[in-house]
């Protein structure tokens, strides 16, 4: 009676969103956990879907020596956080900011630009799902917040908490 659409078949919007690489990061996140001696940290939340993230960094001068994330949320938010940590670990602030800018651009256009975002480019498909862009952006926004070391303000990728139940 019920025809289940074939999710495994190529070319669908669903495949663009849930690339295997994304699911892989979701199942086995990199740099997940907490640091013993973070030099700065930030919290981010996406109230609309309840995504929450906590990012801790060890900065040595301008260099991100180490970072870890914790929290919970949908596959897109968690995979994006995992990919983000790989992208900026061992790089300096300017690189991290440039990567974050490139990521926002990716979310706008759905096309990777000049800047090599590594696995994060696999999130390009999210651009076609405006409701999920906030999930994907959360880790990057929170990273930017953590890098402003003097700031411990929580960030949110969505002002609205409305959920018309």
């Amino acid at each position: 009676m019920t025809a289940t659409r074939d999710l495994e078949s190529g070319g669908s919007l669903m495949d663009d969103l849930y690339r295997e690489v994304i699911l892989e990061h979701y199942r086995s996140p990199r740099n997940r956990g907490e640091l013993d001696t973070p030099t700065c940290s930030a919290d981010g939340a996406n109230p609309l879907c309840g995504d929450q993230i906590h990012i801790e960094l060890i900065l040595d001068g301008d260099e991100i020596v180490d970072l870890k994330f914790s929290g919970e949320g949908c596959s897109i938010s968690q995979a994006s956080a995992s990919m983000m940590t790989e992208q900026v670990r061992g790089h300096d602030r300017d690189h991290a900011q440039a990567a974050s800018d490139a990521f926002q651009q990716l979310m706008l256009t759905g096309e990777p630009g000049e800047f090599d975002l590594g696995d994060s480019e696999m999130l390009a498909g999210v651009a076609k799902f405006p409701a999920r862009v906030k999930c994907a952006s959360l880790a990057w926004k929170t990273l930017e917040q953590a890098l402003k070391t003097d700031s411990t303000e929580p960030v949110t990728t969505d002002e609205r908490t409305a959920d018309h139940g």
Binding site: Y18, Y26, Q52, C74, G165
Partner: protein
């Protein structure tokens, strides 16, 4: 005459003919973005509207449109007759004693806020207590918190047990001599739990408290008789029961409505206005300031007639069958946890669930690809999520036009999600 232009529904309930019902909802035949056929299971958020309601609204604007209550001309009198006619239809639908006790609002939210501003704010004193429950929708929490902060009133919540039912022992302790208002929903939109009003209301009444029932999820889905419930205020929304958005109802006992202060000042709610002062009109006009949603209310009348013709007993029986079936079938899917009462009889047509290691938003996304529209989130009931210790749930909710086949589609889509995320 106006009455002839819009015929009343037949009084005798017809048999539950699901195919015929579905023909009245053309939207159910459409596809979603992925190309899959729509399976609409987000009825607790809003229902669909049948062609009868859409036609009624169109007919109003096409043939009868005018402002109400203030014109002597033909159209204004017709519009007033139609609008006031729905007040009577609404009265009959919930068996209220008098039509003037029906106040049209923009929805449940406005109805609750109207009681908070017009009644509670006037009559509650610092130290008085309002008792609500953890199962409430935010619209039956936030207005009371605002009043608490403004007036120094106490606000207490009857806790929810792990199975989504209310802790009645706690209820007996929390409802006491200081309780002035019990603000309780008849059915939880997040879990579907039907609250035991027959036990709660006497507890409140024993202490002389006023009872407000958020019936946004009850009036659309089961027979509700406000006199049998022995409550004082009942709030609900048209859009969850086949009617248009922007229309809601506050029913209140006449003495209470009469004693209330108006919430908004403006046209239609006054008797006389001088530049110094104004005197209020009678209930319900006093509480319906400004031009109301006339076309919406008229359309709501058609929704009420549609449901009345089906028979609310039949609506409840149909949803109970779907809920029972869904609980059994979804419960068999590995990794699925279902929240709320085990017994289908103790819930409305709502099944809130989670899938191991898959966030509800991802469930919602994959289900949408399969055409299945459900809700993922906190359902405007964050205290329920906190009590369950989950950030969110996925929620399927049924209505008159849903079928067992659609429940099968839901189950297949959840299984597909499970396969995709490698949990099944």
């Amino acid at each position: 005459m106006v009455q002839q232009a819009i015929p009343e529904g037949q009084a005798t309930p017809r048999a539950y003919d699901i195919a015929k019902i579905r023909r009245d909802f053309p939207i159910l035949n459409r596809d979603v973005a992925s190309g899959a056929k729509l399976v609409y299971l987000d009825n607790a958020a809003t229902s669909q509207r049948p062609v009868q309601v859409i036609a009624e609204i169109t007919r109003f604007y096409r043939d009868h449109n005018a402002n109400i209550h203030r014109g002597v001309h033909t159209l204004s009198q017709e519009a007033t007759g139609l609008y006031e006619g729905v007040r009577e239809t609404t009265r009959a639908f919930i068996n209220a004693p008098e039509a003037r006790e029906i106040v049209f609002t923009s929805g449940t939210t406005e109805a609750v806020n109207l009681v908070a501003h017009g009644w509670a704010r006037k009559f509650l004193q610092p130290g008085d207590e309002i008792v609500a429950t953890e199962l409430e929708h935010h619209s039956n929490i936030v207005p009371w918190q605002m009043l608490r902060d403004e007036r120094g009133i106490e606000l207490k919540f009857i806790p929810m047990l792990a199975d989504g039912t209310l802790d009645m022992d706690a209820a007996r302790e929390l409802i006491g001599p200081k309780t002035k208002l019990l603000a309780v929903s008849a059915m939880s939109n997040a879990l579907g739990t039907i609250l035991p009003l027959e036990e709660l209301v006497p507890l409140a009444k024993a202490h002389g408290a006023t009872v407000l029932v958020d019936a946004a999820q009850a009036v659309p889905h089961m027979p509700i008789d406000v006199q049998a419930l022995d409550v004082d205020f009942v709030a609900f929304s048209a859009h969850k029961m086949l009617g248009p958005t922007g229309v809601g109802v506050l029913w209140g006992r006449f003495e209470l409505l009469d004693a209330m202060d108006p919430f908004m000042g403006g046209g239609d709610m006054i008797l006389t206005v001088t530049t110094e002062e104004s005197t209020w009109a009678e209930v319900p006009a006093k509480l319906e300031a400004g031009t109301p949603n006339i076309g919406g209310v008229v359309g709501f009348g058609a929704a009420l007639r549609y449901l009345d013709e089906l028979g609310m007993d039949q609506v409840r029986a149909h949803e109970l069958d779907l809920t029972r079936y869904a609980l059994a079938r979804l419960g068999d899917v590995p990794g699925v946890t279902i929240y709320g009462p085990d017994n289908a009889e103790d819930r409305g047509g709502v099944v809130s669930f989670s899938l191991e290691d898959v966030h509800p938003h991802d469930i919602g996304q994959v289900l949408d690809d399969q055409g299945v529209a459900i809700r993922a989130g906190h359902h405007c009931a964050q205290p329920v999520m906190a009590a369950l210790e989950v950030p969110a749930t996925a929620r399927a909710s049924f209505y008159i036009y849903n079928t067992r086949d659609e429940v099968d589609s839901l189950v297949s889509a959840v299984e597909a999600t499970s396969r995709m995320f490698g949990t099944g």
